[in-house]
Amino acid sequence: MSMDDEIRALRTSVALAAGDHVTCLRIEGEGAYEALDHVVACDLFLQDGQMRPSLLLDEEARPFADIHVARDDESFFLLAEGPSPEELVAFLEKRFPVGVDATVERCDGTLLSLHGPYAWELCTAVLGPDVGSLPYLAFYRADDAVFFRSGKTGEYGYDLLIPTGEIETVRESFLREGAAFDLALASLPALEQCALENGFFNIRREGRAGLSPLELGLQWRVSYRKEYVGSAALRARREAGAKARVVWAVAGAPVAEGDEVFLDERRIGHVLVSGFSVIRGEWVALLLLDRPHAHAGIDRYEVQSAGERRPIRTVSAPLINNRSLYVSPQRHSYRHRDEARMPPFVLSL
């Protein structure tokens, strides 16, 4: 199956993906809250069973890991992308406050993920209604498995932590039941393209550009009300003012990472990430533009790509009018879907 087909399935039905790019850790001990609060960039006001997206920053306020933190009674799960498991554990153990009683363990099990406007329905068929009906950013434990409702594609998304001994059985169940949903297997590049189209942060791409949450537009994931690793540097950057900011764009011709962006003859930024959107039928890109020019809705900028100037149009994220916005577990099913009644993927306001 091509990546285009993987993405089409993810946007219209369901796609199953491996979760080996995600590390799941469990933080336990009397000081678990205190230890995590010192390293996680968001406020940790979480009820039992809730989760929240945030970041681990380094001392220079650059993202080290893209995380979801989830509260499980007095313990926490940390789902993290970016560093290897060993790097992640070392980062935490080095930065936890001295003398605080907190242990970091890798979760037992293997992660699978399910994405798509009908992912909830396939989850219900395979794992039961308690999983399929999970609210966004909540998790549910059953025996030795943990089911997280999150996702970074703009569609219904589930991260499923399955005991390693049961992973093949569960995977086979998804493949068997998924036949009725035209289930596809999605690769990491397909997930990343969907994340780009929906304005989700990618630690492996723009996250390695040396930028802070200010330039990355991720201040909603951080707190200015507490002290944590990177908070002092972040405040200093905020006081100095960010000189650039990310903006999404679309283009009819290919644009590539590193291409420079111009307004007339003035260089105003460059392309951080790009990819072809089979859903939009055009190229989508994440630009880093000088602050005065970093706005959506502008069609006067050009990219210098492959020796020529190519027009580009800045747009607001998300760039996809996701089907999941219109599919309700109370009223819809994949079997009785009516494609003709679905709104277009690209909608102009």
Partner: protein, 100 residues
């Protein structure tokens, strides 16, 4: 900068400021305006709005920026991020509220 582009950016920035003010003063988002990034998600854990806030948001967008939704189908795509609200105001709001 081309005068037309400069006017567009100025207008967009002023609407962005008004949307931020609505979020802080009417929706009680506990953030300083400059912490509210243009592409910040409105709901879920983005800025933390919920379905009750959505009604207040639409009412405020109409009273403060003259936004009238041309049809119900635009409400979901328009209320995803701060920037989609700005797009909505640019397309369906008053044109006289951001010049002064």
């Amino acid at each position: 900068m081309n005068p037309e582009l400069a006017r567009y950016i100025q207008r967009r920035e002023r609407i962005l400021d008004k949307v931020r003010t609505i979020l802080v003063e009417r929706l009680h988002v506990s953030r300083a305006p400059d912490e509210i990034d243009p592409d910040a998600p409105l709901f879920g854990t983005g800025l933390g709005l919920d379905s009750v806030d959505a009604v207040e948001l639409l009412v405020s967008m109409e009273s403060e920026l003259g936004v009238k939704l041309p049809h119900e189908g635009l409400s979901r795509p328009a209320m995803r991020t701060v920037n989609t609200l700005v797009d909505l105001a640019l397309a369906h709001g008053r044109t006289d509220d951001v010049d002064g």
